[in-house]
Amino acid sequence: MAKRILSTLLALMMCLGTTGALAAEEYSLPIAEPGTVELTYMGSDSWCPNVSFKDGLPVQNAIEEATGIKINWDVYSSDLELVIQTRLAAGVNLPDITEIPPFDSTIGVYRYASNGVLIPLNDLIDQYAPNILKLFEKYPSLKAACTSPDGNIYALPGWWGDINEVVPDYIMIRQDWLTKLGLEMPTTPEQWYDVLCAFRDQDPNGNGEKDEVPVVTLNLLATKFFMTGFGFPTNADWWTEDGKTVYYPVDSRYKDFLAWLNKLYTEGLISTDIEGTQRQQVVAQDRAGSYCHDPSDWLAGFDTLCAEANADCDFEFVPMIRGENQEEPLMQKRNSIWRYFGVTKDCKYPEEAVKWIDFCYASEQGQMLYGYGVEGLSYEMVDGKPQFTDYIMHNDVYDPFLALRSIGGYPCYAINDPAQAYLDCFKGSKVETVGNEYKGKMVEPFPTMLGTQEESDLYSEIWPDLQTYLEEMFINFVTGSESLDNFDQYVENAYSMGLEQIIAMKDAQYQRYLSVVGQ
C-alpha cells in the first residue's frame, strides 16, 4: 500500500520535474551534524494518554537520528491554549516552532504574523522544502489554506487531507436493534421518527426497563447533522449554492428542521445530555440506539465499549438522511485543517527548522515513520509492503491505533496523517470497510482560509457574541425553552449582530480560495 503512495509521489515528482515548477533541491540527511542544532517545539503533547514526547519516543528518536536535529519538547497535555497564548504574547523566551492559538479559528495566524512573532516561510520553503512544495501541488487547498492575503506563508496547518478521504464522520445506528425489532434502515425524517419511537418503546436492549436513549449525541449541537432531511444539500455549516456562500442557521429550511428536532427532544428521543459528557457511559450500558456523530473509528470503538454489556452490539453508519423527493444529499468530509504551526522570530536556525518540518510533514520517509512507526518494532517489510507487528496489532494495553500513537506514530505536531497506514491498522474491521466504501464519495468541506486585517478585526469583534447567540438559540429552540414563534425575531437579531458581514467575509475568502486553487 505504501507502494501506492510511493508511486503517486514518484509520478508527481516526475511530472513536476518536467514542468520545472519546483525550485527546492532535495536536501541531504542528516539536515545538521548531530549535536549542532537544537529546536524547541511548543504545542500539544502526545494524544496517547500518559505518554509524552518529552520521554523520547521511538518514532521521535528515529526522526532525530535521521535529521540530526534535537527537538526540545515544550509540550502540554492540558491548558495548552492558556500557556501558549501567554508565552507568545509575552514575546520573550519564544520557542522555535510553535502551534498557533486560538485553535478554534484562523485569526491567530494573522495576529501573530502581523505582530512579528511569526516569520514568513515562503522563501525558505521554496529553497529548502521540496516535499512541502510537492504536497502543495497535490493539494491546492492546502496551499490556499496557508497563504495569507498578502501572499506570504506564515504558518502551515496540521493536515488531514489524506486520512479524511477514508474517515467518514456521520450518524451511527444500532443495526442489531433494527434487526431485532424488524425495522428498516431509516432514511427520511418521518422514518427516523418511527424508528426512534420504536427504540424508546419496544425495549430493544431487553432489560425490561424503558431506559433506552434513542439518539445519543456528541453534544446537542451535533444533531444538526440531521439537517439534510429538510432540503439542505449537505450537512455542512457553510457551503455554496448557485455560486453564493450559504450559512445554515438563518436559512428558511432551518425553521422546519428545528421544529422536528424540538419534537424529538420533547418526546424524549434525544439525549438530554447537552454537552455529551455521558455519551460513552450510555453506550457502554447498552442504552444507545443511535449516535450523532463521530468518525468511523468509533464504529469499532463503540462496539468494544458496549461489548461487555452486549456482545452483539453493532453500530453502522446510516445512509444520508433526506426528505421525500429530495436529491441525494452530499456527505461532508471532515475538515482537513487542524491547528496551524509556524516558526518564530527567535528561531536561530530557520533553514534547519523548515527542513525538519519538511522531513516530518511531507517527506516519504517521514510519512512512513508517522504511519507505520519504526521498522522492527512496529512493522516489518513483507513482500515490499509494511506489515504491522504483533506489538501494534495485539498490544497488551492499547488497541492498534493507540499502540502506534504510544510509540510516537500519528503525532500531533506537524500533522499529516497517512490514510493507508490507518486502514492497515484497522485491517479486517468495519472501519476499513467503511473507509474504502466512502472513499471519494464525500464532498470537500468549505475551505479554511486566512483573513485580512479587516477580516480578522471584524471577526474578533462580531463572531464570539454571534456564535454564542446562534448556538444558544439552537439549543433553546430544540429544548423548547425558546418558542419557534420567535424565529423571525431570532433571524433579525442575528443580522443585527453582524451575521451579514460574517457571511460576506466568508464569501470573500471563498473567492480568494478559488483564485488560489485556480478554478
Binding site: 491554549e81 514575546g91 495576529r111 512579528g116 445530555d273 474578533s460 454564542t468 433553546n476
Partner: protein
Amino acid sequence: MLANHPARVEKRQNALSRLGYNLSKDKHLLLIILPTVLFYLLFCYWPMYGVVIAFKDFNISLGILGSDWANPLFKHFSSMVNSYYFPRLLRNTLIISVEQLLFNFPLPIIFALLLNEVRSKRLKLVAQTCSYLPHFISMVVVVGIMMDLLSTDGLVNQLVVRMGGAAIPFFNEPDYFRTLYVGSGVWQEFGWNSIIYLAAIAAVDTQQYEASIVDGAGRWKQLWYITLPSIAPTIITLLIINMGWMLNIGYEKIILMYNRATYETADVFSSYVYRKGLLDAQYSFAGAVGLANSAVNIFILLLTNAISKRTCDISIF
C-alpha cells in the same frame, strides 16, 4: 543616624526630621519586613504596568508599554458595555456574587460556633477533620462528581423517580445553575473557612467562660456575650476582604459547569472574557473588563472598610 545629631535636626524641615527619627526608631522593623516588601515590589508592583493594556491596542512586538494608545482611549471599555450580552453578564455576575457572599460567608462562622459547642470531643474532632477534606479535591473532580450524582440517571434522580417524579436534567436547567454553583462552593469550603474562626475562638480567654459560669450564664449567653464579641474583629476583617472580592467569580468552575443551555443564568464576566479574551487572545479587551471589575471591587472594599472603621473601629489598613 540623622536623628542622633541634635544640631542638624533643628535645621531640617520638620517632616524630614520625623522621617529620620522614624527610620532610626523602627530600623529593626524595617529590616524584618524588607524581604516581604521586596516580594511585593518585584512580583506585584513591577508587573502592574500591565494594567495599561486596557487602554492600548496591544501589539506583541511593541510590548505593553510601547503599543499605541487605543483610539478612543476607552474603546475596550465601551466595546464591553456595548456588547449584546452586557446586561445579562452584569445581572448574572451580581446575583451569583451576592448569593455567594450570603451563603459562603456566614456558614463557616455558624459551623465554627456549633463545633465549639459539641459535647463529645471525639465527634468534634471527626467533624472538624472531615469538614476540611473537600477543600483538598480539585474543582474538576468536584464538578465531575456533582455531574455524576445529578445526571438524569444519577443517584439523585433515581430517588426522584422512585418518589414518583420525573427525572430532572439539573445541568440543563438555567434555574438550577446558581444553586448548584453556590451550593457546591459552600460544600467545598465551609469547613476550611471555619478554621480561622476556630483559631479565633480558641484564643478566647477561658477565664471569661469560667467567670460567666459562676455568674450563671447559659451556653447561649456565653456564645452571645463572650464568644461572638471576641471573634468579631476576625469576622469583620474577613467580611471586608470578602466584600472586596465579591465580584471576583473565577471562570474555571463556571466553564466546567455551564453549557449553552444554561448561559442565560451562568455566563458571567470572567467566563465571557475567558471565551472572548483569552481564547481569542484579545488581551486589551480582557484587561479592560478585569480593570473595571477591580475598580468596582476596590470601591466596595473602601466603602466597607470606611463603614467598619466608623462603626466598630476595625480597619484592614
